[in-house]
């Protein structure tokens, strides 16, 4: 062994023992190589389980393991050499001793998972030279499948955020308990101090929802050790779970089978955008509509303009206080058609003919009820999300449960057994905590990834209560609003640095593999708890004895979990398979109908409907509760409905705006109770005239440089956990804030862009409403032998969830330019989702259209480029040659779809370290002054072709997935080879009657086909005369 390596080794030994392990299995790795076996047995050097491998020379194994560790680290270090944040000692290890699963220039995919407190996702994370660069859904995962929410994908950037804390901190307070100074501390100091105060007793833990069995076990052990209390609270928590408990006796967020339902009624439940497992919901919803002959119908009663409302076949605009009326009204309509008790009959009687009061056409309302009855057992009624957090929230939920029960949906389309039992967060709990804190019963409060100082409304008095807590320990990776008020910040790892597991649906367990060794001197929350228990010598054996959380997790699975799901396999192979697959267990598809224990007859409405204006707070798809507000990708991702970026705003209806002389961007001051908030106005078509809707999650003060000064914190408008239906007043302030949208115009101006047909039209002819043009060529044209790439996009299944946009941004290193430049029309997205409003502005309905480079065979952009910087490949790709581009921008002018993006400035220079590590090494970072655009992920095409070549087999359809396709939860985007007549795209191009070319008459011959969007609303589209509409 050379001197250097000796030195390294000794250094390595002197260093504190590695905490979180950097071990994982590659997703592909199925062959059991000897090295692989060895590493299997030697990985518990640090744990008592090592006796397993006693038989072998454990010492050498130990060395081997440490080498392995170093090399692993080194492989990462070397490839990210520029501005590297690794410890120098690892830099000098030669790469030629690389660990077997890492090959330079070849990407590995690892299974992992993501949980944002509400939604759980099974993921595949792409790693290049040991650093994660891309996140997408795990297709095999029983819940979300392909789909990866924009937040999950963007969490990658969180790993490389410059604002991330890099070591533990301590806040020095003045007597008023306002932060005076923040100083770094060593883990040793922090641990001793924390343990001291823990030993004083009165320990409480505050966290968000926890879906990881292991984390729950650790917390459980810790609670046992220090007899602590655990309070679970989420800012976006609603009453669904509690209502389930009161109606059926089990606290669970049921699994809704939108794929099995024929009739879906959503009362302000934005299940496609922001409520529940959105990716899973998108997938199932699309599955329920893919077969256009018997597609489901979605009816939405919407008080904000939610993504679900935008996808509804029939959308009714209501105000929050009417949600309860709607449900009771529906019950009253179906009374008699289904058997209900007399008590209920009398209870719902007053709601008969409520439609008129709601300002909804009575017959339409009746039809909804009728459709529900028609589809008994095949329908879903759902309400949820903070949009429903009115005074009547509980009543609403109970009524909804009752409706589902009498319609026989429970157990069929509402499957408790496939639900998530881990979403136990409630405002009741945090209120208890605050009470206890005020009572002075809490000596030490440990807050784990929960940010009440930002997202809890002031009236609950958390801040004051906290002052009474002698020691506050905060475990998170940011110096956020709450962190600055904690004594100690036990800096947590990023999720991608931590081991873990998950249970997102009862019986379905996911693994959470770390993708990179801890970049900084941080420590996972679980390990912190373990360390403190270990130091205090309290709690069960297992929490004390393990040195790494990984060991704890593995042991938990070995000793407890495996028994449930291993199915008799020996643990090693089970564990191995678990890591490879990313999950174990079956998802319950049906359940038995539960007996409804609730009492509908006693449901009273306490929410008054007579306020002139009602507040409706809602989370957005990209920002959610604001946790990830500091990630540029999310801020620059246009809101799914309004298409506005980098801001939140007060949405008012057109009528309201006119009545109050409000123009887009006029700043109005909202007053809710005592709280005031000034926001720019956004005039939102299809909004109820008495609603003021505001997005939460903005106005972060301590999230980091990106989120600083973006929007206002609307959580401050909430009252005691109520988000909706609060009376609100507003007045013009005279200021103006430019709201920046990426959508130039909201109407299609009667052009054939998104072809929409109703189910009735489609019954008449499958290609209804498509105006076809006769086009011809004056010469034979070029031939494409070999591959000819093409894409098919089914507008009928596209929900506009925008996952493809973030996927593209991550895959292709497209720049984030910021509000100012988006305002100047300089956003860089290669794929965008256009949203057009149709119908009358009062109840405008929306359609979505993903738009990327159409790779036209007669590409207008190519003809006009003077330097041949954009040309056609032999496989039909429209290629942009960056280093030949001079930047005349003529191509952009001549592109009918305007999908080309120009590098107006040197954006690459602005990438702050270590953000550059998130760049995909397979895609060039563009220089200033060149044009760029969608390439159909040419790098993935190459990769796929090479793979097929190496495996000496022809390329199969689906081998190559573009980033957008891979991220799409609804399989709206399909990419493939048009010359392979069995490919899915070829079929669409040839056979699909709903397929049409965008701007066909311009004869650019795009390689993309769109398919008609169908509104299942039993209407008939009136024939338009003439024109190209």
């Amino acid at each position: 062994m050379s001197n250097t390596e000796n030195k390294i080794q000794s250094d390595n030994e002197n260093r504190k023992i590695e905490r979180d392990s950097t071990y994982w299995r590659s997703f592909e790795e199925l062959n059991n190589t000897p090295e692989f076996q060895k590493s299997l047995q030697t990985e518990f050097m640090s744990s008592p389980l090592r006796e397993e491998s006693k038989d072998e020379g454990s010492e050498t194994d130990g060395v081997a393991r440490r080498d392995f560790l170093k090399l692993m680290g080194a492989s990462i270090a070397l490839t990210s050499a520029a501005g590297c944040i690794r410890r120098p000692v690892q830099k000098i290890v030669p790469y030629n001793k690389q660990p077997e699963e890492v090959t330079v220039g070849v990407s590995n995919w690892y299974t992992s998972s993501y949980f944002d407190g509400q939604e759980g996702l099974g993921l595949l994370v792409k790693s290049r030279e040991g650093r994660p660069v891309h996140i997408s859904g795990n297709p095999k995962f029983p819940l979300n499948g392909n789909g990866a929410s924009v937040k999950a994908q963007a969490s990658l950037l969180g790993l490389y955020e410059p604002n991330r804390l890099q070591k533990p901190f301590r806040n020095l307070f003045n007597e008023k308990r306002t932060n005076k100074e923040t100083v770094g501390v060593s883990w040793e100091e922090l641990d001793t101090k924390v343990v001291e105060s823990l030993q004083k007793g009165g320990v409480a833990i505050l966290s968000g929802n926890i879906s990881s069995p292991s984390t729950k076990a650790v917390i459980g052990d810790f609670k046992a050790g220090f007899n602590a209390d655990h309070y679970v609270w989420e800012p976006l928590a609603d009453d669904v779970v509690e209502a389930q408990a009161s109606s059926y006796g089990e606290a669970v967020m049921p699994g809704f089978r939108y794929d099995k339902a024929q009739m879906i009624v959503s009362i302000d439940a934005d299940f496609l955008g922001t409520w529940g497992p959105t990716m899973t919901n998108n997938k199932r919803f699309a599955d329920g509509r893919r077969n256009i002959d018997k597609m489901s119908r979605l009816v939405s009663f919407d008080s904000t303009y939610s993504l679900t409302g935008a996808n509804a076949d029939i959308r009714f605009r209501i105000k929050p206080s009417q949600q309860f009326d709607v449900v009771m009204g529906l019950i009253s309509e179906i009374v008699g058609k289904v058997s209900v008790s007399d008590a209920v009959k009398t209870a719902v009687a007053p709601y008969n003919g409520i439609a008129d009061k709601l300002g909804i056409s009575a017959e339409a309302f009746k039809k909804v009820a009728a459709d529900l009855v028609k589809n008994q057992g095949e329908s879903i009624v759902v309400a949820g999300g903070i949009q429903t957090k009115t005074k009547d929230s509980m009543a609403l939920q109970v009524a909804v449960n009752y409706l589902n029960s009498i319609l026989g949906n429970d157990g069929k389309t509402v499957v408790a057994g496939a639900g998530n039992k881990n979403l136990t967060a409630s405002f009741a709990q945090i209120k208890n905590l605050i009470a206890k804190m005020n009572a002075g019963d809490v000596k030490t409060l440990i807050i784990y990834r929960s940010n009440p100082f930002y997202s809890l409304s002031a009236d609950l008095g958390f801040a004051e209560a906290l002052k009474k807590v002698p020691t506050v320990v905060y475990s998170n990776d940011k110096m956020d609003e709450t962190a600055v008020n904690a004594h100690y910040v036990a800096t947590d790892n990023h999720a991608l640095e931590t081991w873990g597991d998950s249970e997102f649906a009862t019986g379905v367990y996911g693994i959470h593999q770390p993708l990179i060794r801890t970049m900084y001197d941080t420590r996972s929350f679980q390990l912190s708890l373990m360390t403190w228990a270990y130091m205090a010598k309290v709690g069960p054996k297992r929490i004390q004895e393990f040195e790494t959380y990984y060991d704890y997790v593995r042991n938990l699975w070995k000793t407890e979990m495996a028994a449930k799901v291993a199915g008799g396999k020996d643990f090693e192979s089970f564990w191995n398979g678990f890591l490879q697959e990313g999950f174990v267990g079956e998802l319950a598809t049906t359940g038995s109908a539960r007996t409804f224990k609730g009492d509908v007859s006693s449901l009273k409405k306490s929410q008054s409907s007579d306020a002139t204006f009602e507040l409706a707070l809602y989370p957005t798809v990209n920002i959610g509760d604001g946790t990830l507000a500091n990630i540029g990708w999310l801020q620059e991702l246009p809101d799914v409905v309004t298409k506005i970026v980098w801001d939140n705003y007060a949405c008012v209806s057109i009528k309201t705006a006119e009545a109050n002389k409000l123009r887009e961007g006029d700043v109005i001051e909202l007053t809710v109770g005592g709280n005031k908030l000034s926001l720019p106005t956004h005039i939102q078509p299809g909004l109820h005239d008495q609603v003021v809707a505001v997005a939460v999650g903005y106005g972060r003060t301590h999230a980091g440089d990106v989120a600083k000064g973006i929007g206002q914190n609307a959580f401050t408008l909430a009252q005691g956990g109520l988000y909706a239906g609060l009376p609100v007043e507003f007045k013009k302030t005279g200021q103006k804030i430019e709201l920046v949208t990426t959508q130039g115009h909201d109407s299609m101006e009667g052009r054939q862009i998104v072809v929409t047909a109703t189910n009735k039209d489609i019954q008449k002819s499958k290609d209804a409403n498509i105006h076809r043009h006769h086009t011809w060529n004056i010469w034979s044209g070029h031939q494409y032998n070999g591959h000819k790439w093409g894409m098919a996009i089914d507008l009928n299944t596209c929900t506009g969830c925008s996952a493809c946009m973030t996927a593209c941004q991550s895959e292709n290193n497209t720049a984030v330019v910021g509000k100012k430049y988006v305002m100047q029309g300089r956003e860089m997205h290669w794929i965008r989702i256009d949203r057009y409003y149709t119908g009358d502005v009062e109840n405008a309905s929306a359609v979505f259209q993903p738009l990327m480079c159409q790779h036209c065979d007669n590409a207008p952009c190519e003809t006009v480029c003077p330097v041949v910087a954009t040309v056609h490949s032999s496989e039909g790709l429209n290629e942009q040659i960056y280093n030949r581009c001079v930047g005349t921008r003529y191509c952009s002018n001549n592109c009918p779809y305007k999908v080309r993006r120009f590098n107006w400035f040197n954006y690459a220079k602005l990438i702050e370290k270590p953000m550059h590590m998130a760049l995909n090494p397979e895609v060039l970072v563009r220089a200033r002054g060149v044009m760029e655009k969608c390439t159909f992920c040419v790098q993935r095409i190459k990769e796929g072709k090479n793979k097929a070549k190496i495996e000496e087999r022809p390329l199969k359809d689906g081998d190559i997935k573009t980033a957008c396709e891979a991220a799409c939860p609804t399989q709206t985007i399909v990419f493939g080879d048009l010359n392979d007549e069995n490919s899915r795209v070829a079929k669409v191009f040839k056979a699909e009657p709903r397929a049409y070319e965008l701007l066909e008459e311009w004869y650019a011959k795009p390689s993309v086909r769109y398919q008609t969007k169908i509104k299942n609303n039993d209407q008939v589209t009136p024939k338009k005369g003439g024109g190209h509409a």
């Binding site: 115009h745 052009r751 256009d834 006009v864 330097v867 001079v886 009918p896 305007k898 107006w904």
Partner: protein, 455 residues
Amino acid sequence: MLKRNPLVLGNKTLKDVSDDICAPIERIPSKEWMGLFLGAKGLFIFYILTIAMVISTGIGLLGVNHPVAWGTMIITFVFWVGIGHAGTLISAILFLFRQKWRTSVARSAEAMTVFAVATAGIFPLIHTGRPWLDFWLFPYPNQRGPLWVNFRSPLLWDVFAVSTYATVSSVFWIVGMIPDLATVRDRAKNAIRKKIYGALSFGWRGTAKQWSHFEMIYLVLAGLSTPLVLSVHTIVSFDFAVSQLPGWHTTIFPPYFVAGAIFSGFAMVITLMTLVRIGFPEFKNYITIDHMEVMNKIIMMTGLMVGYAYGAEFLIAWYSGNDYERYVFMNRAMGPYAWSYWIMVSCNVLVPQLFWFKKIRRSIPIMFVVSIFVNIGMWFERFVITVTSLHRDFLPSNWGQYAWSIYDTAILVGSFGMFFTIFLLYLRVLPAISIAEVKPVLNVGKEDEHHGKGH
């Protein structure tokens, strides 16, 4: 034959002609000239700095964006190229038509052409994203393996058209100046002056043989320049007409652009000549009211042509039945940029109608004002064509606005600094009226028996 007014006033002798025309070159410049020159020069330097700024920071400093990827630079490029048409037109086409009145204005008009084209030529170079790579637009043999340019691109046609036009028109201009430079040389008092003008005049002597060749080359160049001058703006118009963008993709563009070019060109000649007459009173006898009036007639005529084109565009847009086409034109007249459209119409179509009245045609102050209006109008014509077509095209989701910035203003204003700096220098160092061409027509329109002299 109808009696015509004398082309040169005040019974000049041959010597007077030389003296008068060479006077500005030989005397110390006036304060006014110095003032103007320093002003223009300051603006020019400011222009250079702006360009440096843009090149070093990025074209994003200007208002160009998505969807309006072309802006001030292209607009102003077309504007200046347009102006650079009158000169060659006067010296070539009017020469072929044997229009004797052209002689006294030809020289300055040509000079204006050359300088305008020079000013214009800057823009295609600096409007690119990576100006330091502009040389890639030329098909030069290289080591990068087969790597050529795209001869299908109108921009490349532009490269050839503009550079050819610049070359030929300057050659035309210089050749025409040789005999006069010889005159200046022979009048030179000091040796250096003699040397310089001696070199510039290539040792011209004025022998009968030389004159006969001279007349011939002049005829040939005139013959070549005539289709050339028509082709240049035709090809510039192809930049737009060959694209598929509604509002650009129009077959009327070539004649429409050429007419517009002549229109703006003559307007600029009027602007300059009025100034020259003020600056150098002795020129009043050579650049007479009659000359100005003729040019005003041309302005009025071309103005009508342009107006016709505006109308025709609308008619065709309606007649085509194409939604996109129709929308673009309605949007021009009524959309967010309607103001620019109506500025254009009033400046280019309405204002020149004043020239129906002889009094106005012959009033220096009025024609000066009108010519300024026409210049403004013609800049806005290009603005309307470029911006309003781009800002709302096929897919409404793309629609946007041009994000005008101070750099746009700086670039536009600065280009005038460049043009006037060069032009003022020219007035000082080169004979601003063609001596050898004026002399033969001294007697035109005087005593009838002298008719036929000269020609």
